[in-house]
Symmetry: C3
Subunit: 395 residues, 3 copies
């Protein structure tokens, strides 16, 4: 909390901090083959958060955040508005609009993720049941070496249009620290989610449209979708999978795998079989090395990675900040033999990253991506490279 | 001001506080008969305020507030931006975008209203001449047992589209404390408003469209309009009425009545008689009882109700907060014999409420509504029930 | 920084201030001849800024600002999000979304400009290469009697839609204090800008549309465009010009001139000659006199005017604030013999202004405008008067 402007009452019953976060990216695309879409080069306002968070009346935490990043800064939405009762030690009862804990990648704050974008598979599944700004109520229990959480979730604020009835879903996640020592952690986790009542359009018999996809870990130009499971009329949805994170001194590694079972409701034109039961899967493996020796800590309280704090911040007195190298291999497989949409395919992305942590408030990131799309005939495969830089400021 | 983050200069000439307010609702509809519209269930972001208010240079108050609640948090508008000169004791000269004082219900802050929504009649009339974010200039004089206010008002920011010429209206309100003792107040008030120059569309001879209606004290699903006086081409408009508020220890009661005279300009298709002079009226009666013994104070300085502050906030040390029961009978009668729009009707709503004041910052509300619409033949009557819960956080 | 809420760490390494700015205008048009557009009367939310700015880790400045003024307060955009390294004395290395230094008028903050709107010529040219919310990276060097700045600029956040590739441009500005004494400054400046890569629409062979125009120094009713160089398909663009500012005690004067060379790409219907090389120019001269004796200082650090700070703020203790009279003659000539768009013309505006500085936070402004449009036959000339008042609050 060093650099965060705070107002604290004498008895610590009130402790309120202003929060700011902006992530501004600049990128270029190098399409190679099979890409018909225009991939625009330029800058993107990825996040522009302004808000307030803290504690009131000792036992109540709150968070309120606006995000001015929509359409490159054109529009401001509500990113978070929630309260939590923390009066029972180890327990956290939360309600409001929030980002409920789900997967390792999503449990890591966007200020702390080692790559400019999270993995496509974790975005694909959290978008259905757990992403930010989501109406949710739940409980989290943490101990010295575990966290378990269960939440009922509804729709997302801001992103979902007002229309028919809201979705109702349930998610759970547990993470367990299986090894812990000075600058060493190994943790495993599991996440499961299911849609109890699908979101429904307006009017009787309306469709329940769900999109299974995520952009190729790149939002330059607004974010082009290169591969997609299409928009399906949902009957049932379940996702499950696991994660592992390990950190030894200045080296860290992570991996996650998720399988999705998607049962469609009836016979939309894009599905070969009425009530088809489709299966999608995805995973990633990532490695990181911090040249300047800092340790990236696994935070069992959130079930996610903490950020890198440079031991010698860059400034006019001579520090050089922290420097991190990272690589990720990521697969999002949105194919199924029962499935005939012309959009389907399997996306593979290699991302190579360099991160410069100037100080605890400022980070510059550079990612080089090699994107590869495999599609079943008669579709053609596609591939492209991309380079993205990020300016990050937060407190 | 206990829980409000403030920055105060040593000589008190500057005193600035951060302000946050979020009201997040979740509701279900139970339509019974005569309702053809889809009434979507789910959550709603009713208010999401973030701003700053205070005093600068000793004699000048200011208020600046954003509201991120539009379309469930998709968009952020300007809710208030005004200054007031308070250098003459008892007087307040205000200019800017504000919610000018009009009616008892509207003079009660949204954090303090006993029901999730204000009465339909007060919303209907303030929407024409006095609702929030309105360009206004005026003066308020307060004494120990009265307040009187007179304002010139223009259009609303954010809500009115930029187009033709703005409306100009005048409003006045007085409130008088006729009885006052320890934990006892009885006050009566009167409000009057008139449109001097109606809002006009773009181009010569453009219409002056005004909608006389309000939702059935329920905004779940974006807010369905069940009854309406229709969109009229306005020539003249006057509204007048009175209010009474009484509070004895932990019991309170309130009532308001307003009559509207609406003269239409010429012969739109929805009006039987050119230049018809239509009359609408509405009223409500409400009662409340605070189980835990707190007093809901009538604040003569604003001419509205203050909130309930729990004497024992709920926390891990054992308080249970404050609990309030409330009931309201509300009528919005938008019928007139001279009037042939197919939308007209009379809306009656019974609302039963339970409010839990956790502490001065957090309130949970639960309302059950029985909504009844009477319409002249050949239209059919309609009725529906609804349940709404609210999470409220503010400081 | 007197009235600005700040949070400062003991060692001054962190110094963060909340920032608010609202400019609310009310205006009436008096069209005389040749104006076919409806010119709506009413209020306008010209600026509604809320943000935070300051220093972190001693050497890093930052700025983050939202603006809720779009469409009279309907929508909130990102106005600024940038950081600057200030660890080398006299140098400022900046990156992010910002208003890079360009022209004298634009280098003067909107709280400090002597008229309600900046001159049409400076708006026209900064809109192409340097206006606020623009992705930019650059460096500024300041000394006791000079400032020089060079920036690479991209597109604007919020305003430019996401689409094809972004623009890349380069700008430079220098300002030099040629005379300086107690309450006396004379400074000259020069600005030059060029578009390196024009903004491009989506898809191969897409147009590069650029609009050369600005409203008649009046945004009431959303801001009507009375004269325009039209939307041109750009090949090359260069702008250059100079400025002079002089202030002696309570009298000040300023002038700027800019010439634009616009080479079109090929043969759009609005241009007579394929690849036409068009020339536009504009200038203004302004004078001011402060009746209450205050000095309007030229700030060489920013290369712009500082504001007027009243020596006796208006309050209940008897000050009257500061009163300033100002006049400006402004020309924006968007005609060229090679050019056949029916929109072209030459706009001349006389503006007479009175400013009341209540205190360092509050200013009221009143401008009377006489607007004159000359157009080549067969177009007709046009003229109109307008009156605008402004309520300004900031800290």
């Amino acid at each position: 909390n060093a650099g965060r402007p705070r107002i604290v009452s004498a008895d610590k019953a009130f402790d309120v901090a202003l929060r700011t976060r902006f992530h501004i990216d600049y990128g270029n695309w190098f399409p190679d083959s099979g890409i018909s879409a225009d991939l625009p080069d330029g800058f993107n306002v990825r996040r522009a958060f302004f808000g307030i968070a803290g504690t009131v009346y000792r036992d109540w935490a709150f968070e309120f955040t606006l995000d001015a990043s929509s359409s490159r800064g054109t529009s401001t939405r509500l990113q978070a508005a929630n309260i939590a009762y923390t009066g029972v030690p180890g327990w956290r009862f939360e309600i409001g609009l929030m980002q409920p804990p789900f997967t390792l990648d999503d449990a890591t704050g966007s200020n702390d993720i080692p790559f400019i974008e999270r993995s496509a598979i974790t975005n694909t599944i959290t978008n259905i049941v757990a992403s930010e700004s989501r109406a949710a109520v739940g409980v989290r229990k943490t101990g010295s070496n575990y966290m378990v959480a269960a939440y009922l979730t509804g729709d997302q604020a801001a992103i979902s249009p007002v229309g028919g009835d809201d979705q109702l879903a349930a998610i759970g996640r547990g993470a367990f620290l299986v090894h812990s020592a000075q600058n060493q952690e190994v943790a495993i986790g599991a996440s499961v989610g299911t849609v109890i009542t699908p979101r429904q359009g307006t009017g009787p018999g309306a469709a329940r449209p769900y999109l299974f996809a995520d952009r190729p870990e790149n939002r330059i130009g607004g974010g082009t979708l290169l591969v997609s499971g299409g928009t399906l009329d949902l009957e049932d949805y379940t996702v499950w999978g696991g994660d592992i994170g390990a950190s030894f001194n200045n080296f860290w590694a992570a991996a996650e795998y998720y399988a999705q079972d998607v049962e469609t409701r009836d016979s939309p034109a894009t599905v070969a079989d009425e009530g088809a039961d489709l299966s999608f899967e995805g995973y990633y493996v990532s490695l990181g090395y911090i040249l300047t020796g800092e340790h990236r800590k696994y935070n069992i309280g959130t079930g996610g990675w903490a950020g890198v704090v440079p031991s010698a911040p860059f400034n006019s007195q001579g520090g050089i900040g922290a420097w991190e190298l990272a690589v990720r291999y990521s697969v999002n497989d949105l194919q199924d033999p029962d499935y005939v949409t012309p959009l389907e395919g399997k996306q593979t992305v290699w991302t190579f990253g360099v991160n410069w942590y100037v100080n605890a408030a400022i980070r510059f990131m550079l990612n080089y991506q090699m994107i590869d799309i495999e599609r079943p005939a008669p579709l053609v495969d596609a591939d492209a490279d991309a380079i993205i830089g990020r300016l990050q400021f937060q407190f």
